[in-house]
């Protein structure tokens, strides 16, 4: 079986963000970067499938500047066999359809049986790319999976629904699956696997011809929201903050009556 896992490198969401010079995205300097959390579940599920089936080749694909190779190495250390890096210093300016077109251009002649990806990225969060890849490749797609099994050429998944219920869905391969948090527990790469990963193939490709694709949308501005409401911020020494909080709870709620 041939599996493709599409991942994205994103900043750690605990970072202190600043707006960049053109006011249209966050400033990419001085941030800690990591694998998009939703994609971690995708990598883990692909690796587990390989452990189950055996004869499975896992390709991890990532689009972005050179720095994304660090994140790709983690995917390789988790168990992917090879990496494909589409070198694109402008990846953060691309629209979802452009990213999907790059992935589809790579995948189109490779006959992947399953394409796993996260259901959205933690930074942009458009939740479009995975489904768009499927549409461009003419493949079925199932989103938001929180459980996965594979048997006899069919994937059986559970889709997570609002309210916590789950829908039981299946499809024959080939199929695109987008992963929701909690699908599995992503493994920490062991040191031996981190060392092995250094020897795995990591190919760099150029951005394909995207003429005729995109130019659908434009960011007008990216900014910090106004803090609404009369929130009181307490800072300083712990005992003083605790006293102030207790005072506020007595004053504003009936909870400490």
């Amino acid at each position: 079986m041939k599996i493709l896992i599409c991942i994205k490198q994103v900043p750690d969401m605990e970072s202190k963000f600043k707006i960049n010079a053109d006011g249209k995205w966050y400033d990419r300097t001085d941030l800690a970067w990591r694998m998009n959390e939703y994609d971690e579940y995708a990598v883990e599920q692909a690796v587990r499938l390989k452990e189950q089936v055996g004869e499975v080749d896992l390709t991890v694909l990532c689009i972005g500047p050179d720095q994304v190779k660090e994140t790709m190495k983690k995917a390789l250390a988790m168990g992917c066999d090879r990496g494909v890096h589409i070198a694109d210093n402008d990846s953060h300016t691309r629209e979802p359809i452009e990213i999907a077109a790059m992935v589809a251009d790579f995948a189109k002649d490779k006959n992947f049986d399953i394409i796993f990806t996260g259901m959205q990225s933690q930074d942009r969060g458009s939740a479009q790319v995975g489904v768009m890849v499927a549409e461009l490749l003419g493949l079925p797609a199932i989103t938001t999976i929180v459980a996965f099994t594979f048997e006899n050429g069919t994937v059986q998944v559970k889709r997570e629904l609002e309210g916590g219920g789950k829908a039981l869905v299946s499809a024959a391969i080939p199929v695109v699956l987008t992963c929701q948090l909690g699908l599995n527990t992503p493994r920490y790469p062991t040191l031996p696997n981190i060392m092995k990963a250094k020897k795995k193939e990591l190919l760099t490709l150029a951005v394909p011809d995207l003429s005729g694709i995109g130019a659908c949308q434009e960011t007008a501005a990216c900014y910090f929201p106004e803090r609404k409401g009369s929130g009181i911020v307490l800072e300083g020494e712990l005992p003083e903050m605790a006293d102030k909080l207790i005072h506020l709870l007595k004053e504003k709620t009936g909870v400490l009556a």
Binding site: E14, Q122, E135, I142, I232, L245, L249
Partner: protein, 305 residues
Amino acid sequence: MKTLLVAEFREGKLRVKYSQLIAFAKGLPTEASMFLVGSPNDLPQFDGTLYLADVGKYGEYNPSVHKQLLLDVIAKEQPDLIVFHHSSYGWDLAPRIAVALKAAQISEVVAIEDGVPVVPVCNAKLRRKITSKTAQTILTLQAGAFGMDEDPVGAPTVVPVDTEARGKVECHGYEAAKIEGVDLTKSEVIVSAGRGVGNPENIAIVQALAKALGGEYGGSRPVVDAGWVDHDRQVGTTGRTVTPKLYVACGISGAIQHLAGMKKSEFIVAINTDKDAPIGEVADVFVVADLKQFLPVLTEKLKAL
């Protein structure tokens, strides 16, 4: 300007949140019609055209078939805007329409400002305004961002729609959400643990505070996924929605899905080392502190009262 609203039918019934789509459309200079794969016995209250496909025939989740039904309606109606909920149904279907129409899709709209959609990015720490450059635009609306003060009224003019398209995805029914154990919706005080607790042992610190306040403890999605807190204590879109007198969010950043589950609490206290955490947008009091240090101090003082 014409708008087509996409309503949802799931687990045997029309999802009443369609009123949010109507509320959104009311805010625009537009003529709205609606599309639904649903049942003629469970119709939305809406004075307009409803393009209705029979859910008995086409299924509740059948992406490529729903896509074709919707594309046929779009070809007929020629809407400028096609509006979905940002939901497990909407984010699954909308991008398929975007690809077919080569149209811009703007996801999880929280507001329209000067005619431009606003969406959250980076765990809602930031906002982005996005303009569409295509003749038709697809929007998905964040749950609860648009709402009506009254229940919707009206009776739609139903236009049935059908298709020969067949799908490759099969549905085998549903697994209900487990609602055993504690019912947080009945608690007046809830103290919730988020990722900031760091490890399962620290849940005890959160439980101790809950006890000192006479309430229950809950958790955000990451701690439930990690197995540190049971699912019946999860607060958020895929857990419980709670409205207690007091909600204390400990080490919870305030992801949209969590906020949706608790932002209507009467009084909200957030304890977090990250001053920029989005939970600050709903907190009445924000304590900038490490919960592992602050909670024990607070708990001791409460016990001494």
